[in-house]
Symmetry: C2
Subunit: 223 residues, 2 copies
DNA sequence: GCGAGTTTAAAACAGTCGTTTAAATTGTAA
DNA sequence: TTACAATTTAAACGACTGTTTTAAACTCGC
């Protein structure tokens, strides 16, 4: 059990290689041997530095999400007008979700690992949600709540917040179909600006409509 | 090469077992041995009846998608008012995406296999898109186009159609996070009616806003 | 009942999997 | 240099993978 490691080089190379392989194939299909080969390390290196494959995966996910979350564009303060906050949130969300492999490899890998975790959740997802995603959920809920007004119910805020984030996540989680349906169109990550503006306008329309006509309390009929 | 098969029983049992195992673990993680065991068949049965594992998977996907697509609630004709068509489309889409494992096992399996194909697309996805998904894409595009009016550009129609389907797919593709963020809330498939109504209202708001203020032609400034 | 064709069965094929072992190597401090 | 711990290495572990082989069991028309 190495208490203090003298040489962390191969450990870092293992993490980098693991990011590539896990992001491409997912936890179970990825093989320790391929990761070690790509890192130029021995097969036993994973078990020496991380104990086992699962711990390498969890360590990687934590590091990757921490890095990308910290590098995110700062959100607007709660004192800013809610429209501007919504616009900034959508933009930052798109930047994070649709980063290209070329100039933001780390973010793109985090997005892909997130996608794979959605399809087949593992124990790591719980921590990711608690440490990172929950903050975003609360942020967008606050923004949407400000736009809907104080009369909006908590359920309605959640529904509208879901509608906003859904429109962004769609371009990550349905990328395979988008590319298949319109193979000649430029890929989504080349038109984040256009997409962000559209989602902002579309969401503002939905929010103002629902703010104007709040639904009756459930189970009761309006007077 | 069996030209005419006398006994298709085990073939059918293999397909049923494959649906369960593939839907749970995905193509690569699922094992032929587990499928055969669950079907009460010999290990060689898959290769005898389907040639190999990949062909079993493709056959299953085609059959499953054909079945669920045919059992779908009929869509409204193009002559119906576009608002009603949008409402019916969203409802039918939700019914298909959020079917419970208990009373609509086939649909739920198809939805899960779809989710797994999104995360790690295989050759089968191309056929699924061509034979089934493309029709839905054209249907929702026609509905959205009618609601936006004739002045809407093709790109704007695609963006708005994406915003609509994204709100539905969200509850399939982010189910893991939804359950994690609100573990006590009733699962989405128990409140399809509420969700469908919300997505309809939210989308109508977004569509009317974008219909009222069409964006300028790209690259040019409005007069 | 017979033989042809279809379906199942057990066993083995050559690989890959994650992990472990034990020896060899490296780097550092006394 | 010696001594010791940290790291890397090659080799092997048993278990599992998809697929194939070979033979046995079945089902059918005759």
């Amino acid at each position: 059990m190495p208490v203090k490691a003298h040489n962390q080089e191969t450990r870092a190379r293992l993490l980098a290689a693991a990011a590539e392989v896990f992001a491409e194939k997912g936890f179970e299909v990825a093989s320790v041997r391929e990761i070690c080969a790509k890192a130029g390390a021995n097969v036993a290196a994973v078990n020496y530095h991380f104990g086992d494959k699962r711990n390498l995966y969890n360590t990687l996910l934590n590091q990757l999400f921490a890095d990308t979350w910290n590098k995110r564009a700062p959100l607007l303060p709660a004192s800013a007008p809610p429209e501007a906050r919504l616009r900034a949130f959508i933009q930052a969300f798109f930047d994070e979700v649709l980063s290209s492999d070329y100039d933001e490899r780390g973010r793109a890998q985090a997005a892909r690992l997130y996608l794979l975790e959605m399809a087949r959740p593992s124990e790591a997802l719980t921590l990711i949600v608690r440490d990172y995603i929950r903050r975003d959920a609360e942020e967008i809920a606050a923004i949407v709540g400000a736009l809907l007004g104080p009369s909006a119910s908590e359920a309605q805020v959640t529904l509208c917040a879901s509608s906003v984030v859904a429109q962004v996540l769609y371009y990550l989680q349905s990328a395979a179909i988008i590319a298949c349906l319109a193979p000649d169109a430029p890929p989504p990550h080349r038109r984040v600006a256009q997409l962000a503006e559209h989602v902002y306008q579309f969401s503002l329309g939905g929010l103002t409509r629902l703010a104007a006509a709040p639904p009756p309390a459930k189970g009761e009929t309006p007077c």
